[in-house]
Symmetry: C2
Subunit: 123 residues, 2 copies
DNA sequence: GTATTATTTCAATGATAGTTGTACTATTGA
DNA sequence: TCAATAGTACAACTATCATTGAAATAATAC
């Protein structure tokens, strides 16, 4: 993952409205929600919501599909996993024993995602 | 995790400098680095780096410890795991079969962190 | 075609973040 | 005590983001 993509994703989620939208769509899974349902659920004016949906879609955190006059949005969980992998690249400089100590110091945990990601995650 | 804490963390990582700092310290593990070493490694002016280190420390992503006249910074990996758990809370409304379909649609992956987190992560 | 609904685009405003230089504090060593 | 070093705090400037209302686009229903 490129750095500017990662920062865009973080910036996307640094707004309370956008964080609420993403988490709501994570809960909804493959069904997703249309824009109006999101606006109702979160009590955000449509104009403002549209602004935030655009930001989330541009970073790739959401996908959008037209359904008649509705726009259906869904969360892109794969991108989130890629982001996690990027963040933890070369964790502890490849010394697992250091990871164990760091885990103790910062209450860090063993990683168990490696098989699922192109880049292993090693806490 | 509270929403405003989560947004603060994302905002922390939405800057290229801060993202570089965090990833560098993840690599360094428990040893961490003192401020001057970070400045040298990333080629950031001390004044500017101090600004970003303060932001990262205030959100809890970094810990800081005084060593004589040096300030040693370390990454807090546990907080990152808590954040991931928060993001994926109630994923797919508790219907694993939906998660599977969403995984297919967005190239999402099976989750394997549950035992390590207070809140299960279920993609 | 006309009206209605869903959503977005645009423009204007106020608020907030990033960078830099200068000045300051604190620790070390002579 | 005095000088040197590590790092931070502050102020000023620029740039960018969030919010809102009004207008525009696009699809459906009558």
């Amino acid at each position: 993952m490129e750095k500017n993509i990662a920062t865009s994703i973080f910036e996307s989620l640094s707004s309370g409205v956008r964080l609420d939208v993403f988490r709501l769509l994570v809960k909804k899974g493959k069904d997703g929600l249309v824009a109006g349902e999101i606006a109702t659920a979160l009590n955000v004016p449509p104009t403002n919501l549209s602004f935030h949906l655009k930001a989330l879609t541009q970073t790739g955190l959401l996908t959008v599909e037209q359904e008649g006059r509705f726009q259906r949005y869904r969360a892109n969980l794969r991108l989130m996993l890629d982001l996690i992998a990027y963040l933890t690249e070369e964790c502890c400089a490849g010394h697992p024993e250091q990871c164990a100590e760091l885990r103790e110091a910062s209450e860090c945990c063993d990683a168990v995602l490696p098989a699922l990601l192109s880049t292993p995650i090693k806490f």
